[in-house]
């Protein structure tokens, strides 16, 4: 495992080149170019603002557009990174059969190029936060840690799924459905507080709210973004996430990453024969 990580670091130049290639190709032949990364969240924001302040004005959540956007942007980063990295190995057979390099670089570069887009979109979000008169506080200093957790978790899932997809091509198809379900199970459009503490399912007492956090690392990650950027739905200003909560989130994300790396490493040697 350690040797895998050292080798990936030795090929960081390739990682950078692949990210640059992804970004160049994404906006090739488009007039606005990389500005699309800014226009996209901006349009999203306009739509949310119109829908949630004019069409459905009476919501108990203050500044609903910001509330949603600071969860939707991280979620979009996660879902687009996952859905595109699933094919990172299986669609690069021509390369994998011809040149040796640490293959982990392929899904990871897809995740990183999506991260660049996410960070650009963040600029828009910060603008919105100012516009809605939500204070920018010192809690923002915690943001890099949350982004690291987010990145580790996304990278782990990407490694795992891209390896799976080499052997079972339906992984990609299934994930397109699963990611929809995952979206609704994650508190993106609703505050976690509206979930009941517990529910009776088939005679079993299920701690719903706890389960969402425990089983779904994305819920904790998004809750952290929200605490830092938006505050709470009761109107309190942005604040630092609870330290033990953040630590748990980070450790979970790191473990997911290592698990993805391990699974990938286990099957890596067969990729050149299978793709």
């Amino acid at each position: 495992m350690q040797s895998r990580i050292t080798e990936i670091i030795a090929y960081r130049e390739l990682l950078g080149n692949l990210v640059a290639r992804d970004l160049k190709l994404r906006y090739k032949n488009s007039v606005l170019g990389f500005l699309w990364s800014l226009v996209n969240p901006l349009l999203l924001m306009v739509v949310f603002t119109i829908v949630f302040t004019i069409m459905i004005p009476d919501l108990r959540v203050p500044n609903f557009p910001v509330f949603v956007l600071c969860a939707v942007l991280p979620w979009n980063f996660f879902s687009t990174a996952i859905l595109s990295s699933i094919h990172a190995i299986s669609s690069n057979g021509h390369l994998i059969k011809k040149v040796y390099f640490p293959l982990e670089v392929l899904p990871l570069s897809t995740v990183l190029s999506n991260l660049v887009n996410f960070l650009l979109a963040f600029v828009v979000l910060l603008g919105m936060i100012v516009l809605f008169r939500i204070p920018l506080t010192g809690a923002l200093l915690w943001l890099p840690l949350v982004i690291v957790a987010h990145l580790l978790f996304t990278g782990g899932v990407a490694l795992f799924l891209s390896a799976m997809n080499v052997f079972y091509r339906d992984t990609g198809v299934i994930m397109e459905v699963l990611i929809q379900a995952w979206f609704f199970l994650t508190p993106v459009f609703y505050p976690l507080e509206i979930l009941p503490h517990s529910a009776l399912v088939w005679g079993m007492e299920l701690p719903v709210r706890r389960l969402v956090y425990v089983l779904n690392p994305m819920a904790s990650i998004i809750a952290s973004y929200r605490a830092i950027l938006y505050g709470s739905t009761l109107g309190s200003p942005p604040h630092a996430p609870a330290l033990d909560f953040l630590a748990r989130t980070l450790i979970t994300a790191a473990l997911c990453f290592l698990f993805g790396l391990w699974v990938f490493g286990r099957y890596r040697e067969r990729f050149a024969e299978e793709v």
Partner: protein, 253 residues
């Protein structure tokens, strides 16, 4: 000192037309366990051992399907041996299908950096060799054009140029000199010769036996995945040619 060592290397391929490729098949397989699980395996290489010293120019010859390409892919670590060990010292650069890593939408310049990085070079190392690469490929005027506008000859030239200019310790060449016009081919051969004189180990896979004789001082002959003969180039090529003639005369079947 050894540049490349094969120690009792065997490589088995499992023909996977029988393997489950989707969850559906996987589920079905659970109910029909034991049926139709006849795996077809192919030993592409069997118990092959040899050593290549630094600076040697070694040809690998043999008929189609004798394991030559598998041998090269094991050398580059694209494949891992089923049994035995493969050890290589230093940077191995492969001319396995030139320009495999090129992206048509990117410019020549971007592709040079991307390919250099694929071979494990840092940005500064590539920048240092950039002019040399472009000059050797004779593409000064087109380096900022997208590769999709290149002719196939231009693409090959760029691919070859990158591979020889990244100063590898071991250079693997697989049947690539059939591309380009006569003068570029000769230029490539001269370049390979120069590279070899500067101490780089060369492994050359080809059916062009005259080129093999001119370029290499040692040859390894594979037959059906087994090492048939290993020795001075001329002798091995002679006995290989003799065996090809015997095959041609023998009745088929």
């Amino acid at each position: 000192m050894v540049a490349m060592r094969f120690q009792n290397v065997s490589k088995r391929f499992v023909m996977s037309h029988d393997r489950a490729h989707s969850f559906q098949e996987l589920m079905l397989r659970l109910f029909h366990r034991g049926e139709g699980s006849s795996k077809e395996t192919l030993w592409a290489l069997r118990d092959v051992s040899f050593e290549i010293r630094p600076g040697e120019a070694v040809a690998i010859i043999g008929r189609n399907g004798s394991g030559k390409s598998t041998c090269l892919k094991l050398m580059t670590r694209i494949l891992t041996p089923t049994e035995g060990r493969v050890e290589a010292q230093g940077r191995v650069a492969g001319l396995l299908e030139l320009g495999a890593g090129f992206h048509p939408e990117l410019t020549g310049r971007d592709n040079i950096y991307l390919n250099g990085a694929l071979m494990g070079l840092g940005r500064r190392e590539i920048a240092r060799r950039f002019d040399e690469i472009v000059a050797f490929a004779e593409l000064e005027r087109f380096v900022d054009a997208q590769i999709k506008f290149y002719s196939s000859g231009m693409t090959m030239r760029l691919g070859f140029s990158i591979a020889v200019c990244v100063s590898p310790d071991i250079l693997l060449i697989d049947e690539v000199l059939a591309v380009g016009d006569q003068s570029f081919q000769e230029k490539c051969l001269r370049r390979i010769d120069e590279v070899q004189k500067s101490g780089v180990t060369i492994v050359f896979v080809s059916h062009a036996l005259e080129t093999v004789r001119a370029l290499c001082d040692r040859a390894i002959w594979f037959d059906r995945g087994e090492l048939q003969e290993d020795g001075p180039c001329d002798a091995v090529v002679d006995s290989y040619m003799a065996s090809v003639h015997v095959h041609e005369q023998a009745p088929v079947g």
